[in-house]
């Protein structure tokens, strides 16, 4: 009999006080408690974090990188969304 698959989890770590959790990688574990412990052992052996989130990989819906052109096109052409698009004379100072 083939070995049954163990669910995959995505791991997010808050590295420093005040920062958001950031994706660091994934791991296999049977349940959430074991995933959290495994994440500690795999990803924070050198004090990399203050807090860990684990999320079932199946819960993630992702955009297709192959379609990134179409996906992000609406933002590409809009240079007027950037502050440097607007002329403010140097004498006025930082704005």
């Amino acid at each position: 009999m083939a070995t049954p698959n163990t669910p995959l989890w995505e791991v997010f770590i808050r590295s420093r006080n005040g920062l958001a959790h950031k994706h660091v990688g994934s791991l296999h574990a049977s349940d959430a408690t074991m995933a959290l412990q495994a994440a500690r052992d795999i990803y924070t052996r050198r004090g990399e974090g203050l807090s860990i989130w684990v999320v079932p990989s199946t819960a993630i819906t992702a955009s297709d990188p192959a379609e990134k052109g179409m996906m992000f096109e609406p933002a590409e052409s809009k240079i007027y969304r950037h502050p440097t698009f607007y002329e403010v004379p140097e004498e006025v100072g930082h704005m």
Binding site: N17, G18, S51, R81, Y86, V88, E91, V92
Partner: protein
């Protein structure tokens, strides 16, 4: 600022809570630790932040109305694209903020309902009308300028999700102020009529903008706790002064006159301003500003008009879940 109505006395129920926990909480704040959603926090801290962040969110959303008024009448395609992008940003800022407020345990639906029912406030500034194109320039320059002055210290607020939302907002806000100033500069370099239009807008917006920072420190009842909890890092008057000192030279460069004949510069370089008419501020907050009823009516209409979209999306999702469950059972 966007949360002016915060200035009401908060009932202090910390006495009911574990004193040791409260002391530990304050020690964390004092050590500049960020408080995160799952951490223990005093009920009053949660309540204060839920109100402040949701009012800030409501302000971003209502703030789209005065500017949206000019999208179809912007003088050039360049200006129109910029204004549209700015209004989109305000909507995005509202959504970041609702998400931050929700981490405290109140759903976005509840927060929005409270606003629509008139139980939650938004910034007084959005109850003033945008009568001419120069108002759009003035809003970007002054209203967004004042908002930036208030939001930069909020990037270091003790509550993590709010601070992180503010960092994102501040990064995006810079374009707003610059596009506003550019509009003003163009008008001021234009015909006499255009310059007069710019001056007229400044005359109408100056005092309401100063009111955005909230009541004077002497009468602000809520500041002490917010300061102790490091939600607020500067007092209303401190921020107002910083804003005025930064703005006066910008107005001088435009060749515009600040509508405060009593204004003088003191020995340290600070601009001393005349008494603000706080009766007007109270009236606007109480619902009696020039556009309060319009703004509320527009928000309620938008919410009602969108009901079928929310219903359709929810019923489609429910149908798909049902189908998947049925397939899984086969």
């Amino acid at each position: 600022m966007y949360t002016q109505a915060l200035n009401t006395a908060e009932t202090d129920d910390r006495g009911l809570e574990d004193a040791a926990k409260a002391a530990q909480f304050q020690a964390r704040i004092d050590a500049e630790e960020r408080i995160e959603p799952n951490d223990w926090m005093p009920a009053a801290y949660r309540k204060t932040l839920t109100r402040q962040i949701s009012q800030h969110a409501h302000s971003e959303i209502v703030g789209m109305l005065p500017e949206g008024n000019w999208i179809t009448r912007a003088p050039t395609l360049r200006r129109k694209a910029a204004l549209l992008a700015k209004v989109q940003d305000e909507c995005g800022h509202g959504l970041y903020l609702y998400a931050a407020a929700e981490t405290l345990g109140t759903s976005r639906e509840e927060l929005v309902d409270a606003m629509l029912a008139g139980k939650a406030k938004y910034s007084s500034i959005f109850n003033y009308p945008t009568l001419t194109w120069a108002d759009i320039g003035t809003i970007g320059w002054l209203v967004d300028g004042a908002a930036i002055m208030n939001q930069i210290p909020l990037c270091r607020c003790s509550y993590g999700p709010y601070a992180r939302a503010m960092i994102r907002v501040c990064k995006e806000e810079s374009f707003h102020q610059r596009q506003g100033y550019e509009i003003m500069l163009t008008l001021c370099r234009g015909s006499d009529e255009q310059k007069a239009m710019a001056q007229d807008a400044l005359n109408r917006w100056w005092w309401p903008v100063l009111m955005m920072f909230g009541p004077p420190d002497a009468t602000s009842q809520h500041s002490d706790t917010s300061t102790k909890w490091k939600i607020k890092r500067f007092s209303n008057d401190e921020l107002r002064q910083k804003f005025i000192d930064a703005t006066v030279p910008q107005a001088q460069y435009l060749g515009l006159t600040i509508p405060d004949p009593g204004m003088t510069q003191d020995a340290e370089g600070h601009w001393r301003y005349s008494e603000i008419d706080w009766t007007e501020f109270k009236q606007v907050l109480a619902g009696n500003g020039p556009c309060n009823r319009d703004r509320m009516a527009a928000r309620r209409k938008a919410h009602d008009d969108g009901a079928w979209v929310r219903e359709a999306a929810a019923s489609y999702a429910a149908k798909r879940t049902q189908r998947q469950t049925a397939q899984a059972a086969e």
